[in-house]
Amino acid sequence: MSSNFLLAVAAALTPTIIFSILITVNQVSILPNRPDTTYIFGRDSLSGAQIERIQLNLVGNNVATVTITYWMPTNARYQKQVGLYDSSGNLIAIGSDCRQESGSRTRTINTVPDISVDDVATVKACIIRVTSCVGPPSCL
């Protein structure tokens, strides 16, 4: 086998090497896993109570709790609920809180079950004035 033959083989491999480098460079192009995330803020038109801020709190990659900031114009009982939905619109985690209060409040609500934040496509929080905190959730 001559040196010329081996040099020819090496020359033939050069385009493949360049191609591999180009593939590596192009790989840094970014495609977000899910381009859209939707947050829905509930407002109780009868009482004027409203959700103003929603925050997902993670433990590792899982959503463990959701912190909401809300406003209530009058002192009354309010039911607050948080729902997490997947990209198909299925409710995959839920949490709620109910108590008598007024003004601006921030509370952290446990959501169950713990789910991966990457499965959450839509976050919805709602608030509604109720006469009693006993009873099923009603505003999601």
Partner: protein, 129 residues
């Protein structure tokens, strides 16, 4: 003769390495785009961790800005767009920002202003600029 053997050995090892490398890249790229075999694509996890309505501290009556907190598993520059819907009012705004694994908080002006009179929907879209 010895030189030729060394050169031949290098060529064979390099060829095997490139074949293995190319097969790995091809397989991963196909997985990332759902089996279509498209190259040029890499996946990143964008997470929108919080959204706040309006510029007022509390008792928001007008949605003139939206404050979002985001992370990205791959650091880089991104276009962040927000689309607001309240009843018949639709508003939008956008900004570009550098995102990374640590949460970045952005306050984005939206236009036109929407009164907060009923349920508000905020859609956050993150893409490459």
């Amino acid at each position: 003769m010895k030189t030729e053997r060394i050169l031949l050995f290098i060529i064979i090892v390099a060829s095997l390495a490139m074949v293995s490398y190319s097969a790995t890249i091809s397989a991963s790229q196909i997985n990332q785009v759902g089996g279509t075999g498209v190259v040029n694509v890499s996946k990143t996890d964008i997470r929108v961790l919080s959204v706040k309505l309006g510029s007022a501290s509390f008792a928001v009556t007008t949605i003139d800005v939206v404050t979002v907190s985001l992370t990205s598993s791959i650091s880089g520059n991104y276009l962040i767009q927000v689309f607001v819907n309240v009843g018949a009012c639709s508003a939008s705004g956008s900004t570009t920002a550098s995102l990374g694994p640590t949460a970045t908080t952005l306050t984005i002006d939206v236009s036109p202003d929407c009164g907060y009179s009923s349920q508000a929907t905020v859609r956050v879209r993150v893409t490459q600029p």
